[in-house]
Symmetry: D2
Amino acid sequence: MSSEHTARLLIHCQDQAGIVQAVSGFLFHSGANITSLDQYTTEAVGGDYFMRVEFVLPQLPQQLDSLTDNFTRNVAERYQMNWRLSLVQERKKIALLVSKHDHALMELLWRHARGQLPCDIACVISNHEDLRHAVEHFDIPFHVVKVQADTKAAAEAQINEWVADCDVLVLARYMQILSAEFTEQWAMKIINIHHSFLPAFVGADPYRQAYEKGVKLIGATAHYVTADLDQGPIIEQDVKRVDHRYTVTELRQLGAEVERQVLARAVLWHVEDRIIVFGNKTVVFE
Amino acid sequence: MSSEHTARLLIHCQDQAGIVQAVSGFLFHSGANITSLDQYTTEAVGGDYFMRVEFVLPQLPQQLDSLTDNFTRNVAERYQMNWRLSLVQERKKIALLVSKHDHALMELLWRHARGQLPCDIACVISNHEDLRHAVEHFDIPFHVVKVQADTKAAAEAQINEWVADCDVLVLARYMQILSAEFTEQWAMKIINIHHSFLPAFVGADPYRQAYEKGVKLIGATAHYVTADLDQGPIIEQDVKRVDHRYTVTELRQLGAEVERQVLARAVLWHVEDRIIVFGNKTVVFE
Amino acid sequence: MSSEHTARLLIHCQDQAGIVQAVSGFLFHSGANITSLDQYTTEAVGGDYFMRVEFVLPQLPQQLDSLTDNFTRNVAERYQMNWRLSLVQERKKIALLVSKHDHALMELLWRHARGQLPCDIACVISNHEDLRHAVEHFDIPFHVVKVQADTKAAAEAQINEWVADCDVLVLARYMQILSAEFTEQWAMKIINIHHSFLPAFVGADPYRQAYEKGVKLIGATAHYVTADLDQGPIIEQDVKRVDHRYTVTELRQLGAEVERQVLARAVLWHVEDRIIVFGNKTVVFE
Amino acid sequence: MSSEHTARLLIHCQDQAGIVQAVSGFLFHSGANITSLDQYTTEAVGGDYFMRVEFVLPQLPQQLDSLTDNFTRNVAERYQMNWRLSLVQERKKIALLVSKHDHALMELLWRHARGQLPCDIACVISNHEDLRHAVEHFDIPFHVVKVQADTKAAAEAQINEWVADCDVLVLARYMQILSAEFTEQWAMKIINIHHSFLPAFVGADPYRQAYEKGVKLIGATAHYVTADLDQGPIIEQDVKRVDHRYTVTELRQLGAEVERQVLARAVLWHVEDRIIVFGNKTVVFE
């Protein structure tokens, strides 16, 4: 069954008896076949309820509107659900922002080129020219916008123009702090890779901080960006073992491997509709 | 909601449209609240279907029989399901078999004593006296049966007597090969810990084999026991990094840590009804 | 060659040309055979130099004093070394402090009983009676001293009496804060296990902090205790992967596994003279 | 101190008293400063001895010949050493062989471009045209030679011509079996990445074998190539956790990540002279 008939439903509501039955019953009577179903409740009774369903419906994409209408009336309103329905074939559009470090960017471009990142990459935006050649090799537009204290507003306006039709922005080691206005406008739609195991080592130069603290593991954290620097909901983290022999430079090199993997997983989960944000935390249906 | 009202349903059948709806609808109309649901299909269409549901039903355990009857008639027969329904409060009874190495055994006794292994340990059986003191400290009966080529049948008969009311046997480094009759009688009810990353290093002294091969990781494998030595369905595996400096003795020591963890996870998953065997493989709903 | 003839030399000095030659030449001319040698320099030129040598000398332990004298005069003074020489057969004496959680304590007692922790355990000290039975099963003295705000000084005096001939104290989840006087008296001789990946989540109830932050890995840190709570030199760290499904209780359970392993490794390295503290960091020659 | 004055010495001989002293004394009296020293002995007494020393000598590279002569006469002959001395600035020349899968190749080209793989890549050789564009983007020559049963000898002759001045060949998923003549000619100078945790799953399509066996971890192995397929000395291995949900395709994708990392580490260690082959095993001084 090709992906054109496949859709995903993400749901968040108060936990009540009968939700699984209501959703699966609705889909069954609509002619859909559930191919994947995950759910999670924060408490045994009366907590928050989260669900992700993937299903195949031969009448998709034509009957998307009627399916949506029916689901709204017959299920979502009854349970007061926050929900969204996505067609797998409607690939998300993403833009990548980067400064000079290429490792996280290259990992994404590379996986995308190999068909392992099911989304469309609209463009790469940087505040430096350095990576133009590397990006254009993948036939992806590369835009440069310089950012300085007094030009940040204009730069962000320019970025907003370039990414106007994008669904998500990925900061693949973009070393500029985005304004609160910008991050609010793109709330839970900007993914950043921070080069430490948050909440350890927020702020600048975390590998130097890690070196000075003498930690025995270094890590990376992919998270949604909020106005609070390095404090947004964590999507994914990983670490590697180090010892006293590692210089700051070597920590950075090893850390770059972790950053690549962690960011790539986070972006994949986002474009596959596997993440629901809940307060300052994420539910990830891997 | 206390565990006395909680039950688990494990299902295996041919994949068809409507199974989730049928099961969740049945539970909803029976007054149950689904607290956990996992499913897996081997193929997008027409494969094997597996499901694990945990639910709370205030009328349990009293209405277990009627629930079972109704499920059989209204759901299971229609979809030709292999299934089983377990009450969480009916803890499984397990027996542990061991020879002289105590690490895997101690890990299980210890977790059990701490309330982390929800089952009843009926007894520990060994072909040596060595571990009597360690076991009896936990107030668990310790039986010894010597095994020699010509006494194996009698020994297994004796074991069968001791474990007559047990649900599962755990070989926590039991160094005797069980007869084909015995393993068939207890099919998919004996869990063994093999001290290598199977299928590498089947047979005797896998740490020596690993040493001689010069592998850079050593591992352990928990699996169900079949008549084919070291070939039964794998439940869990893990590894640790080693290098050329490790002697065979050190590989054994480090490996013992992996064995303890891997076996403990496998036994936990079994007693929590998280495993469905399918051909020579396992579906584990963690 | 039995361990009675084996010794370990730990050295820290300014890096200069010829140190390896001086030490290895001295040992060779003293009749010793080097069985293990590790070194580390903080900078390519002119940094701090660290060395660990294990050697066998048939005249040990009898000639320990003359060896020490000669090394002092002929090598150590010339290079202004901080150093210590230990006989492997002179096992370190350790005391374990614990409150109510038994997992870290049991791991140490268990490894010790199995011959995997080459030291003598003088006693276990607790501020609660709870673990007496578990400890005395290992034939190790168990002392209880209640600690309250106004009795802390007296309690520490009592502890000091019990551990007077000990080389190192291990806090295996001891939930009392030691006074600055006490930690200074035992500087770099108290090992604590903190139940988080430091420097994340210092202070109380780190698993709850981790839960509220929504991290995707939880960890544990073994460190030397200083007057600055949770800030002493880190010896070892490790983590385990978690997801949104883990309750605080489950984080604690999984975390307990990490704590056990991390503390056991740290104590082993300490008693095998593998750790040199350097500022607020450790050099660990694994 | 720049790398032009830095050299590495690898030694293998019978263990005897005084080797460290002899080597470090020789280097000291030659005016060298040891910056790194690792050693390993297979037995406490009388085994095989291995050593890796990195040192800085201001008179290098000019005095390389006299240093070599002196070392031979004064140290190596006395201890009957197998040894080699390499200047760090004389970067090794490597050639990469690949078929159609690009992931392992790209990882190497990418690290090389970023300065993380200190060697010269002479060329990439393939039996397919597919990866020409990707390789030439890095300004590295790309050669294609078709291989069929009856043309294998000619193809290998052609390859030999292209790689005549290379020090090591890396099979980055090259799907042709090299002849015994070829592998003997390049003994311990061909590194292959096998897509399983050897010795499990030798031979073709290991991910399918892993799928059918139902293993819970998949891995990759970098090893030197010998005439015995998939049996040469193991350099490095790693694994990733999987479960029953992974299709063969997904195992391949996840496995590709492990392959990339494992091969990159093995090649790095080889070009940094960190590996000594000993029988069918490797000593790796990380």
